[in-house]
């Protein structure tokens, strides 16, 4: 039985594996198990021994240093490229920070927060204008008049209740601008187009003691 070097056929699996791995056996990057396997095969394979000799020469030749290189001027050109890149893309990058913050989780949270805020605002508005609320004259007086046309000062009878005053104001579509005064008067705003009807309504109302018509309201 011959235990010395032999020539293996390429179809031999162990030979093919070792033959393939020889370049990395030469540069020393194989795993320990692969290195041991290749080394073992090299002991008995003439073809791989010859190949190893050639690849070692190649490793020495290719691995040799090329000598002096011109790093500094090349790196200066690289800085120039980056400067140009930053000029072209700098603004996009700055906005990119905001874009990156506006990712899906943030976006979803923001949409949910805005939806919740909208619901709260609507609820508050409904509460504010709800007829069954406990709003008194002061509260009503603080309400902002949307489109006042004429302002009237109304003095109510002593027996006028909170509820009856409210019904009257709703009937004449008045918005309280100021009041109530010490005499129980309210300054209210009424639509310009309804001024005559409002004056007639107030004149007939049992809870109205008197009312003052400003100069700009057409006299009857």
């Amino acid at each position: 039985m011959n235990d010395g070097p032999q020539i293996f056929h390429i179809a031999d699996t162990a030979h093919r594996n070792a033959f393939e791995l020889l370049p990395w056996y030469v540069n020393g990057t194989l795993s320990a198990a692969e290195t041991a396997s290749v080394a073992e095969h090299l002991k008995v394979c003439l073809r791989c021994q010859h190949e190893l000799a050639q690849l070692s020469i190649l490793n020495d030749v290719i691995g040799a240093d090329d000598g002096a290189l011109t790093l500094e001027p090349t790196m200066m050109r690289a800085h120039g490229l980056i400067d140009a890149y930053e000029r072209d893309h700098g603004s996009n990058q700055r906005w990119g920070i905001f874009r990156s913050l506006w990712r899906r989780p943030t976006r979803t949270s923001a949409v949910l927060a805005m939806s919740l805020a909208s619901v709260v605002v609507v609820a508050l508005l409904l509460l504010k204008f709800d007829g069954s609320s406990n709003a008194d004259f002061t509260t009503l007086a603080n309400a902002t008049s949307k489109s006042p046309a004429y302002e009237l000062t109304i003095i109510f009878e002593a027996q006028a209740t909170h509820e009856s005053v409210r019904e009257l104001l709703i009937d004449i579509q008045a918005e309280i601008v100021h009041g109530p005064s010490d005499e129980g008067g309210l300054v209210v705003a009424v639509p310009r187009s309804d001024a005559d009807k409002v004056i007639a309504f107030l004149a007939d109302s049992p809870i109205v003691s008197s009312f003052a018509v400003p100069e700009r309201i057409p006299s009857r």
């Binding site: 030469v26 490793n59 290719i62 090349t74």
Partner: protein, 194 residues
């Protein structure tokens, strides 16, 4: 087998240092960029010179590579190696450059070589193996050149090369086998007698 023993502690420190540099570059740190540039300049110029065959092109593509490093550093995955990431970028930039100059640096095919053995014999006498290798490397495809260069000059493992070239390890081994066959054919006896 050459002495390629590496101190694992030093190597890990280097890898960590490079990752730190990339993080700094992502924050726009030019000093960190310069440091990384100096670390990779020689290896990249050499690799790209082999890939492109002209040093002028190599330096141009090197800067294109480092510009990509600058602009994409924020996307670098900390689990990977900085060197394989940068060489992967350099490889793709080199292929792009070769496509731009298609026809000028296409590998010389067997059909275009007239009496290769005669040419080899004429050249062997006066040109040493190193210079001859420069010419023969041009006969390899860019992919084969990359595998040879990354193995012998950059000392990468085949799995690292597969990562750089973005291909399976089997493809790396096959490209190396084809490259070795071509080198043997074109270098001929010059290789064995060196």
């Amino acid at each position: 087998m050459p002495d390629n023993a590496r101190n694992s502690g030093e190597l890990q420190a280097l890898i960590d240092d490079e990752k730190f540099l990339v993080r700094c570059i992502a924050g726009g740190d030019r000093a960190a960029f310069e440091k990384l540039y100096r670390l990779y300049y020689r290896r990249l110029v050499r690799f790209l010179s082999r890939m492109l065959s002209r040093s002028h092109d190599a330096e141009e593509v090197l800067n294109e590579t480092m510009l990509v490093v600058w602009s994409k550093s924020g996307k670098f995955k900390a689990t990977g190696k900085v060197s394989t990431w940068i060489f992967g970028i350099a490889y793709r930039q080199a292929l792009r450059s070769l496509r731009r100059s298609r026809g000028i640096f296409e590998p010389i095919t067997d059909d275009t070589v007239v009496s290769e053995s005669d040419a080899t014999e004429r050249a062997v006498t006066h040109i040493n193996l190193s210079n001859r290798l420069e010419q023969v490397m041009l006969r390899l495809s860019p992919e084969q050149r990359a595998v040879i260069e990354l193995t012998y000059f950059c000392d990468y493992s085949y799995s690292e090369i597969s990562e750089i070239l973005d291909c399976p390890t089997g493809t790396v081994k096959t490209r190396m086998l084809h490259a070795r066959r071509k080198l043997q054919r074109y270098l001929g006896s010059d290789w064995g007698q060196h």
